[in-house]
C-alpha cells in the first residue's frame, strides 16, 4: 500500500513542554487509522500537524512522498486535498447551506453542482430541509453533523476527524460511523480519527495507534490490539484501567 503520511522522529514542543515525543508513523492510502489515548495526550495536536496548523518542532514530516516545508501555497495545496473536522467545530455566521457549500465555492464549483452536492451531503447527515436555518441556531449535535457534511462535501482525499461523534446520540453515532466506512470503501479516502470511543474503534478502524503522554506506545491492527496488545500500558488503557 502506498503511504500518504510519513512521520519520523517527530517532536512537538509548546512553550518548553514536549506534547509529542519522537513519533514514528506511516499512514497508508485508503486506511482508517484510529488514534486513541487519554485526554491531553496529544491527539488533537497530532491531527493539527497533519493538516499543517502546527509545525513539528523536530523530525521528518512527508505528505504523498514529499517533505512538507509549509509555504502558504503548499499548505493550501495539501489542504485542498484534505479536510480536518475540528473537535469543536466553528460555525460560520451564515445559513446551513452556505456553511456546507463553503469548500465547494472555494474550489470554484458551479452553482448547480454546489446545490446538488450540498443537498446530498445534508441528506446524508440527516439535516435535509434545514438549508436556510441560521447555522448558529443549530443544536450541538446538529452543528456537529453540519460540520461533518461541510468537511466531506467536496470529496477530500484525506479526512482528519477529531472526535467526530462526541456530541451525538447513538442513532447519529451509528450513522456517522457507517458514513465513514462508506466514504472509505467508495472513494478510497484516507481517514485518521482521534477518539475516546473504544467500541467505535473496533467497529470502524483498520489500524490503531495508542498515544500516551505524547508517545506513540503501540501501533497495531484493530484485531491485534484488542486481542493481544503489545504493550502493557495500552492493554491497561483498553481495559479502562488507566488512571490519570
Amino acid at each position: 500500500m502506498a503511504e500518504l503520511f510519513r512521520i519520523c522522529n517527530l517532536t512537538k514542543t509548546f512553550a518548553g513542554k514536549d506534547v509529542l515525543k519522537n513519533i514514528n508513523l506511516r499512514i497508508y492510502r485508503g486506511e482508517i487509522f484510529a488514534l486513541i489515548g487519554p485526554s491531553g495526550t496529544g491527539k488533537t495536536t497530532f491531527l493539527r500537524i497533519l493538516n499543517l496548523f502546527e509545525k513539528p518542532t523536530n523530525g521528518i514530516f512527508e505528505f504523498d512522498g514529499k517533505p512538507v516545508n509549509g509555504t502558504p501555497l503548499e499548505k493550501n495545496r495539501i489542504r485542498q486535498r484534505s479536510s480536518l473536522l475540528f473537535q469543536t467545530p466553528a460555525v460560520f455566521n451564515l445559513s446551513v447551506f452556505d456553511n456546507v457549500a463553503y469548500g465547494l465555492k472555494v474550489r470554484g464549483f458551479d452553482k448547480s453542482t454546489v446545490e446538488k452536492k450540498v443537498k446530498e451531503a445534508l441528506g446524508i447527515v440527516g439535516l435535509s430541509g434545514m438549508e436556510t436555518q441560521k447555522a448558529r441556531t443549530l443544536s450541538g449535535g446538529e452543528a456537529q453533523r453540519m460540520a461533518f457534511a461541510r468537511a466531506i462535501v467536496y470529496g477530500p482525499e484525506v479526512l482528519l476527524l477529531d472526535e467526530p461523534t462526541a456530541n451525538l446520540d447513538p442513532y447519529n453515532v451509528a450513522k456517522i460511523e457507517e458514513l465513514i466506512r462508506h466514504i472509505r470503501d467508495k472513494c478510497g479516502t484516507t481517514i485518521v480519527i482521534a477518539t475516546h470511543n473504544l467500541p467505535q474503534v473496533k467497529r470502524i478502524a483498520d489500524r490503531v495507534g495508542v498515544l500516551l503522554e505524547g508517545k506513540l506506545i503501540e501501533v497495531n491492527s484493530v484485531g491485534g490490539i484488542f486481542t493481544s496488545p503489545g504493550d502493557a500500558r495500552s492493554a491497561a488503557f483498553l481495559k479502562g484501567e488507566m488512571v490519570y
Binding site: F53, N76, R79, Q80, S83, F92, L94, Y102, V106
Partner: protein, 244 residues
C-alpha cells in the same frame, strides 16, 4: 409671557416650521445630511480597507498607525477644525484650493474626525472573529483572500455598527464644521424667517447661531430634526448589533 408659555410657544412654532416644510430648515437639514453623509461614505471607504490591512498585513509602521488610530478616535473636533482651517486658509499650504468656508472643507474636517473612529471599531469587530473560524476557512481549502472575505462576512454587523457610529458622530459634531464652514446661509428672507438658504449651515451650527440670536422656535425645530435623525441612526445601529 412666563417661561413655560415661552417654551410651549417655541415648540408649537417649531412643529409648524417642520410640517410646513420650511425651506430654510429643509436646506439646513439637507446640508447636514449631505456633508455628514459624504464624509461618512469617504471615511468608510478608507477605514474598512485600512482596518483589514492593519489586521492581516504585517508592514513596517503598523503599530504606529494603530496608535494613530487610537489617538484619533478621541480627537477634539475643534482641534480638527483648527487644523483644517490652517491648511485651507488662503495663506495656508492648501490655500490655493480655495475651499475654506465651503461644504467640501466641512467634509474634509469630518472625514478626519471619523475615519479613526470607524477604523477603530472595525478593528475590534475583526479581532472578535474567533481564530477557529479562520482555521476552518483554511482547512476547507480557502486562501488568504477567502480569510479576508469570510472575516468581513463574520464581522459584518460590527462593520455596519462602526460606520453608523461614525455617521452619528459626524451629525452631532459642531466644533470642527463651525470653524471651517463658517455657518453661512445665503441672505434674503425665505418663507418669512431665517436668512434664506443654507450654504454651510448645518443643524448643529444653526442651533448655536439661532439660539444666540434668540430665535428659540427655529432652534427647537432644528433640534427636533437633529435628534430624530440621530435617533434613527442609533436605532439602526442597535438593530445591526442585535443581529450579531
Amino acid at each position: 409671557m412666563g417661561s413655560f408659555e415661552f417654551l410651549l410657544d417655541g415648540i408649537v412654532r417649531a412643529f409648524e416650521l417642520i410640517v410646513t416644510l420650511n425651506p430654510y430648515i429643509l436646506s439646513i437639514t439637507g446640508v447636514s445630511i449631505k456633508v455628514s453623509g459624504t464624509a461618512t461614505l469617504l471615511a468608510a471607504m478608507t477605514a474598512i480597507p485600512l482596518a483589514f490591512a492593519l489586521s492581516f498585513v504585517q508592514f513596517r509602521g503598523r503599530h504606529a498607525v494603530i496608535t494613530l488610530v487610537n489617538t484619533g478616535m478621541g480627537l477634539p473636533p475643534v482641534f480638527v477644525g483648527l487644523f483644517v482651517f490652517v491648511m485651507l486658509v488662503p495663506a495656508g499650504p492648501l490655500g490655493f484650493l480655495n475651499r475654506i468656508f465651503t461644504p467640501e472643507a466641512m467634509i474634509i474636517a469630518q472625514y478626519i474626525l471619523i475615519t479613526p473612529i470607524i477604523t477603530g471599531i472595525t478593528l475590534s469587530a475583526i479581532k472578535a472573529v474567533p481564530e477557529p473560524i479562520i482555521e476552518t476557512v483554511y482547512t476547507l481549502g480557502g486562501r488568504e483572500k477567502d480569510v479576508v472575505l469570510t472575516t468581513l462576512l463574520e464581522a459584518r454587523f460590527g462593520v455596519i455598527t462602526a460606520v453608523l457610529a461614525g455617521l452619528g458622530r459626524a451629525l452631532a459634531e459642531v466644533g470642527a464644521i463651525l470653524i471651517v464652514g463658517g455657518n453661512i446661509a445665503y441672505t434674503g428672507s425665505v418663507g418669512g424667517i431665517g436668512e434664506g438658504l443654507s450654504y454651510t449651515r448645518t443643524l448643529t451650527t444653526a442651533i448655536t447661531s439661532e439660539t444666540s440670536k434668540g430665535d428659540i422656535s427655529t432652534s427647537i425645530a432644528l433640534g427636533i430634526i437633529l435628534i430624530a435623525i440621530y435617533l434613527f441612526v442609533n436605532v439602526a445601529a442597535g438593530f445591526f448589533r442585535r443581529q450579531d
